[in-house]
Symmetry: none
Subunit: 218 residues, 2 copies
C-alpha cells in the first residue's frame, strides 16, 4: 500500500517524481502523548496521518497552550516541514493525541519537487490556505466572541439546572440561547469534543470533563 496516494496531487505527478517521493518516505509510529515535532529547530518532514490523531498547538512563555488545529487520517501536516518555506517564522508543537502512525515525507525530497512542480506547489498552497483558515476561525472565536467561554458556561449551567451531565438539547436551541447560528454552535461543540470535554450523539450532549469546562471560565 503506497500511502502517498492519499495525497490528491500524487496522481498528477510524473512517474519519476512519484518514485522520488515513494523511495524517501517512511512510516513512523508514535505513542499517545508523544511529541512528533517541536518548534522550528527540527524540520522533521511532512507528516501524512495514516491512522490516529495529531494536534498542533503553540505554547506561551509561561507554558500555556492553545490548539491551532487537529489532523486525522489522510490529513497532512505542513508545518513540521517549515524549512520548505523561508517565510514561515513561527514555531508550533505537534503531538500525538492517540497512538498514531504517520508517513514521513522528508523535507528535502518534497522541496526539490515542489520547486519545479506547479501541481505540487499549488497543492502545498491549498494545504497552507486551509490551515490558515483554521487559525483565522480560532482568532475570530477567541478574540471576539469569547464564544468558547459562553458556550462552556451555558452547558455547565444547563447541567446544573437539569441535574445531569447528559443534556437533551439541540444545537439550534443552544444557538437561540446564545444568539449564534446553529453552524457556529456545532463547530464549537466539535472543537470541545476534540478537546475531550464532551461526547455528542443524536440529540444529546454528554459532558465528560466538567472540570475542563469549568477551567475555561477562569
Amino acid at each position: 500500500m503506497n500511502y502517498l496516494t492519499y495525497l490528491p496531487v500524487f496522481g498528477k505527478l510524473p512517474k519519476e517524481q512519484q518514485d522520488a517521493l515513494t523511495n524517501t518516505a517512511f512510516i513512523r509510529k508514535f505513542s499517545k502523548s508523544e511529541i512528533l515535532h517541536n518548534g522550528s529547530q527540527d524540520c522533521t518532514g511532512l507528516l501524512l496521518v495514516i491512522s490516529g490523531q495529531i494536534r498542533a498547538f503553540t505554547i506561551s512563555d509561561d507554558g500555556r497552550e492553545i490548539t491551532l488545529y487537529r489532523l486525522f487520517e489522510r490529513d497532512i501536516c505542513l508545518f513540521s516541514a517549515s524549512c520548505i518555506l523561508n517565510s514561515i517564522q513561527f514555531d508550533i508543537t505537534i503531538t500525538a493525541e492517540k497512538d498514531t502512525e504517520v508517513l514521513v515525507i522528508p523535507s528535502e525530497a518534497y522541496k526539490k519537487i515542489m520547486e519545479v512542480s506547479a501541481p505540487l506547489a499549488n497543492y502545498t498552497n491549498e494545504v497552507m490556505a486551509s490551515r490558515f483558515s483554521d487559525v483565522m476561525w480560532l482568532i475570530d472565536q477567541v478574540m471576539w466572541k469569547s464564544f468558547d467561554k459562553r458556550l462552556a458556561d451555558f452547558l455547565l449551567n444547563e447541567a446544573s439546572i437539569e441535574g445531569t451531565n447528559t443534556l437533551k438539547i439541540t444545537h439550534e436551541t443552544i444557538g437561540k440561547h446564545l444568539g449564534n447560528p446553529r453552524e457556529v454552535v456545532t463547530r464549537m461543540l466539535k472543537y470541545f469534543v476534540n478537546e475531550g470535554l464532551l461526547t455528542l450523539s443524536r440529540g444529546t450532549i454528554e459532558i465528560t470533563d466538567e472540570e475542563g469546562l469549568q477551567r475555561m471560565l477562569d
Copy 2:
C-alpha cells in the same frame, strides 16, 4: 515603469506569462480611509502597493476591528484575491491608511499562470507563509501578552513607521488596531502618562520616554 518588476518572481517567468500579467494589470488610486476590499464577496485581484500604506483587518459581529497586518511600498496583498485558492475561507477587509496607489493584478490572469507555473505558485506560497507568520505573531501577542505590552509595542511601531515621536492618532483608532474598546486604550494611555512615558493632548500622543516603553517589551 512596469511595477510588476517589484515582484521578485517576475523575472523568472517566461515572456508570454510576463506579457499576460502586464497586459491585464492596471493602476488604481485610493484616498486615505477608502476601502480597497471588503470580505470574500469580491475577488478584487492581487494588490501590489506602489505608494502609500494599506491595512488588513477582521471585523467582529459587533463592529470591533483588529489589524492583521499592514503593507507598504512593494508589498503584495494576496487575500484580496482569495478566490485564487479554494481553501481560503475567511473574510478580511482592506483599507488605505494613507493616499495609496496600487497595481491591481486581476485574479483570473494570476490564477491561470499560477496553475501551470512552479515559480509563481512557490512565490504565492512564500507570500502566504509570510502573512501566516504575521497572524501567528498576532495570536501570540493577543492571547498571551498583556495589553500594556501590546500598547507599548504598537506606539513604538507607529513612531518608527511615521518617523516621529509625536503621533496624531485617536484612542478609538488604536483600539481598532488592537481589538480593544476605546476606554481600555484611554485608561492604559493615562497609566503610561503617570509612568512618565507619554504626554497626551487633543488628538496627539507624544512619546517622552522611548526607552521606558522599550523596556516594557523585555
